[in-house]
């Protein structure tokens, strides 16, 4: 920085400098030249185009075909057959309903728990940084290891949590092997891994809570709940929306936890749509149909991405 300031004073050729200084006044010189910016962007954007549009067109084509794998790849055009099948398939329908339940429960619990964690950490004076670091750890764990830990802790023979639940008299049985408890367990694993992210986001929002209003409420004898509901929550609402969008996108992106713990079972009770798709594609090798299912998932994520871009732009405009 110091170097720059110095060179600005000493080494700048005088003629060119004066020309530049005049530039903003003279309109023609100010015409934007974008060659440099475009050159900087193009390598990344060409690569991105290659790895996004080629698979997308491929998927559309696959969804209109019967894809054969045996004896070399073969495509036979079957028109809208896959799509007709898709909209009449009760298994896909029930998977979507299950996905919505799973999604609402996961993201809903995460928002509440994450906000509670953020409020707790925010209220701390000593060791706040250390506690935050410790609480964030689950977020860095590979989903497959979260699933592995779930199977380890919930093992019906020797699992630590199985033992705790049975000692407390809450549940006694094979959690991952029973319809109902298995769904609760996979939701719990997701909540365990991702609530810290909500806590981290909300914590950033809590610094924006107006302190003077909080103090005024304190003087007026407002209870903790009253302050929370009337002052804190309204002022962190915008940031909660960002948290909700971020988690919504990832909740449908990742499916490794379920893949490794229940793989959709027992009796399809945890078979959310990505697991169903994976089954169709790589157990039954019905790739054309899988592509159609994948395209419907893509529509869902594009809608959320669209909302995210709007919110992002509005936040940039206001900040």
């Amino acid at each position: 920085m110091a170097d720059k300031a110095e060179s600005l004073e000493s080494t700048g050729p005088p003629q060119r400098e004066s020309k530049q200084r005049v530039a903003p006044v003279g309109a023609p010189v100010h015409k934007p030249r974008r060659g440099f910016e475009l050159a900087m962007m193009s390598p990344a954007l060409f690569l991105l185009a290659a790895i996004s549009f080629i698979p997308l067109f491929m998927m559309i084509w696959m969804s209109l075909s019967k894809v054969g794998l045996i004896g070399g790849l073969s495509f036979s055009f079957i028109g809208l057959e896959n799509w007709r099948h898709l909209f009449g398939d009760p298994q896909i329908g029930s998977s979507w309903i299950l996905s919505i339940i799973y999604f609402a429960a996961t993201v809903g619990i995460e928002l509440v728990l994450g906000t509670a964690m953020a409020l707790l950490i925010h209220s701390m004076i000593r060791a706040r940084n250390l506690v935050l670091s410790l609480v964030l750890i689950p977020m860095f764990i590979a989903p497959v290891i979260v699933g592995l830990l779930g199977r380890f802790l919930l093992n019906s023979g020797f699992g630590l949590y199985t033992w705790v639940l049975s000692v407390l008299g809450l549940y006694d049985g094979n959690i991952l092997g029973s319809v109902g408890p298995a769904l609760v367990a996979v939701i719990g694993m997701n909540v365990w891994e991702w609530s810290p992210l909500i806590a981290l986001i909300v914590l950033a929002g809590l610094t924006a809570v107006p302190n003077d209003i909080l103090e005024a409420a304190e003087v007026d004898g407002a209870s903790y709940w009253r302050k929370l509901v009337s002052i804190v929550v309204p002022s962190i609402l915008p940031i909660l929306l960002v948290a909700l969008l971020i988690r919504s996108m990832d909740a449908i992106r990742f499916f490794a936890i379920i893949l490794i713990t229940t793989n959709g079972g027992p009796a399809d009770s945890t078979k959310i749509i990505p697991i169903r798709l994976y089954d169709i594609a790589f157990r039954f090798f019905n790739l054309g149909y899988a592509a159609a299912v994948g395209l419907t998932m893509l529509v869902f994520s594009i809608i959320i991405a669209n909302i995210f871009v709007q919110v992002f732009k509005r936040r940039q405009a206001t900040l």
Partner: protein
């Protein structure tokens, strides 16, 4: 009276904080502890808290025929190369995208974020067919391309957000001074972006390192990453929990350290710049 309710609130708060720590950390602590337990102790019911620690699981993993070293190397190569490409190209593109004024910029942003958010299960299907056709299954190249499908848009978007935050005065001063646009980028803007570049790199590396879905579909015997090694133990009939908890510890600990290194910028990184 008021004093007592105040103290009670303090105790409740302390208990809740303890509960939060127990909830967050017990699974991790239990995994690390179990990786030092002899196999006979791991499957004790009720669980044993006292045991004589052993390194046997770690020694077994890194010796003999089924060597985990190869998986570690595979993971480092695919995560490392995809991170380098994503962050290198993403930094350049992020600067260009942040400084350019053009119509259709919103559409460009929307496209980039849509690629990042595309469901992995959906992306796997066409990639599988393409890789099969191009003989890229069980190759580093295939997996690197797959990881670029989420890391490249992530890096472009996040670096754009970081560059957007950089004050322009220094760059303007350098331009007035006669520096070319490339010099302004490489000598003025880039050195100020170290936190942004480090954060983006670490997050890209973690995303790739932690992936299971792509790796399980695209890798073969020669290219399996560590999460696949863990899953392979899990699908055997008699699960070796000692080996499994040891692999888990190896997968988790470096990423937790990396992640906490950039704690200050995590919220920006993980919200793609929407929260600062």
């Amino acid at each position: 009276m008021n004093n007592m309710s105040h103290r009670l609130a303090g105790i409740v708060r302390g208990l809740l904080i303890a509960l939060m720590l127990v909830w967050s950390l017990v699974p991790v602590i239990w995994m690390v502890l179990s990786s030092f337990k002899p196999n006979t102790v791991i499957t004790n019911s009720p669980p044993s808290f006292l045991f004589s620690p052993t390194l046997v699981h770690y020694v077994n993993l890194f010796s003999g025929g089924n060597n985990l070293w190869q998986n570690v190397i595979n993971s480092v190569i695919v995560a490392g190369v995809s991170t380098l490409i994503a962050v290198g190209l993403g930094t350049m593109a992020g600067y260009g995208l942040s400084r350019i004024q053009m119509r259709g910029k919103d559409h460009l942003s929307f496209w980039i974020i849509s690629v990042r958010m595309a469901p992995i299960a959906a992306v796997i299907v066409p990639l599988y067919l393409m890789f099969r056709y191009l003989h890229l299954l069980d190759s580093y190249t295939g997996l690197i391309i797959a990881y670029l499908s989420f890391n490249l848009p992530f890096a472009i978007w996040l670096m754009t957000a970081f560059f957007d935050d950089l004050p322009r005065d220094l760059e303007e001063a350098a331009t007035v001074d006669g520096a070319t646009k490339w010099q302004v980028f490489s000598r003025v803007a880039l050195p100020l972006m170290k936190p942004g570049i480090v954060t983006t790199s670490i997050l890209c590396f973690i995303f790739a390192w932690n992936d299971y879905a792509f790796a399980t579909t695209f890798t073969g015997p020669g290219t399996q990453t560590i999460p696949i090694a863990a899953a392979n133990v899990l699908t055997q009939s008699g699960i070796d929990w000692g080996a499994l908890t040891a692999i888990g510890t190896i997968v988790v600990l470096p990423m937790a350290v990396f992640g906490l290194l950039v704690k200050r910028w995590l919220v920006t990184g993980l919200t793609l710049g929407a929260v600062k």
